[in-house]
Symmetry: D2
Subunit: 133 residues, 4 copies
Amino acid sequence: MAYIFETVFPVRDYEVDSQGIVNNAIYLHYFEHTRHLFCQEAGTSFREMQQKGLDPVLRKVEIEYLTPLTLGDEILSRLKLTRQGPRFVFHQEIFRLPELTPVCRGECTIVCLENKRLSRGDILAEAFADVIS
Amino acid sequence: MAYIFETVFPVRDYEVDSQGIVNNAIYLHYFEHTRHLFCQEAGTSFREMQQKGLDPVLRKVEIEYLTPLTLGDEILSRLKLTRQGPRFVFHQEIFRLPELTPVCRGECTIVCLENKRLSRGDILAEAFADVIS
Amino acid sequence: MAYIFETVFPVRDYEVDSQGIVNNAIYLHYFEHTRHLFCQEAGTSFREMQQKGLDPVLRKVEIEYLTPLTLGDEILSRLKLTRQGPRFVFHQEIFRLPELTPVCRGECTIVCLENKRLSRGDILAEAFADVIS
Amino acid sequence: MAYIFETVFPVRDYEVDSQGIVNNAIYLHYFEHTRHLFCQEAGTSFREMQQKGLDPVLRKVEIEYLTPLTLGDEILSRLKLTRQGPRFVFHQEIFRLPELTPVCRGECTIVCLENKRLSRGDILAEAFADVIS
């Protein structure tokens, strides 16, 4: 299953904590930022979804930390997307450049509320029809 | 001019950056959190103001850093409030406990929008009538 | 298996994002802050561990989001601790007060490096001997 | 006095708070990130300074908020640098693209500690000799 989106950005110094490494919670920000850039590119955005009454909600995150990032690092953040009924799972990985050292990998499970109720996800699936596995 | 509100809280480890001290931007979070606790105690909240069509907006911050905070520190955060026409100025100070070492002091200037336009601030002044200097 | 530590704190307004709910990454900050308070109470701290050449490292987080937190909420954060060989697993839960609504639950797996190498964890186990399940 | 460095980056969705705008403290992160990128480009970095026993310390920030940023905005962040004896002042401005709407401007005053004591700043001045006004 191939990656469908990737982006590159630097670690910001303020994201590094007193242990000298990027704080564990920041990786969830990296994951979220990557998903949002992906959605923009895929032709929709969280804003637009909200305007249509769709409310994508994060239900679960599993993340494994492999190699810590530190000051001055540059990263490659990649994702692919699968659907399991009403659940959309973003499979996300972050690598350190330039050697592509694996930094972390995770699965972020999203469901879609329509008018505050859990939806089957068909509208979202349609928006991502071209890229979903 | 006396302080009208104070609160105590610990530094959280994730707020300390790679230099081993609380990151400079976090102090603005401390200031903001203190203002919000003050507003709650004064009987109003940013939520309630927004529901009345009032929108308090931060216009300016001046902050002087005196002594850095680090892991395990506990702080005392204090404020007083003055009005200069449409501008409300929160005078804020943070001290490290238990010796009350001055950590930083700042002035945060807020104006109040009513229906998206700059207001004279009379409604806000009324809400704070008992505490404003 | 009983909780061995709990703490109460308020949601800070700046932790709430544009969807009107506490941002998903912030819960990892809540978890981390709770673990650190627990360690302090248990008589050790990340600082002290580091001074002994021990380096506790987060390897994995699984978190399930049940009910979103929002402005003005107050939370109860609880944990218990188990050991699986070299791995220490913090089982953490957050509830909204006063009704104890389940907000999220997660497992945070920590290993301990000694002089940069993975240790069997015996020193850490000793430090937590009284509380570990 | 001309700008000596500029960089472009997008607002990240998690930086927007419950008022629908980028949280006030985040602008200090933008300022800091811009200064660090500038230092890298100028051929030094905070890491390298620290290795030489130099410790740049933020003493004061003044920031004026002009137009709020929101979801999906892209920004241009610029700075210039002046010296006032031992004090280095970064004059920083952020604009919203593409129309270059002024978002905020600020002055960040930095001093340089050498072996924990306030220095005259001559080493830092030398590092920035080509760009300082």
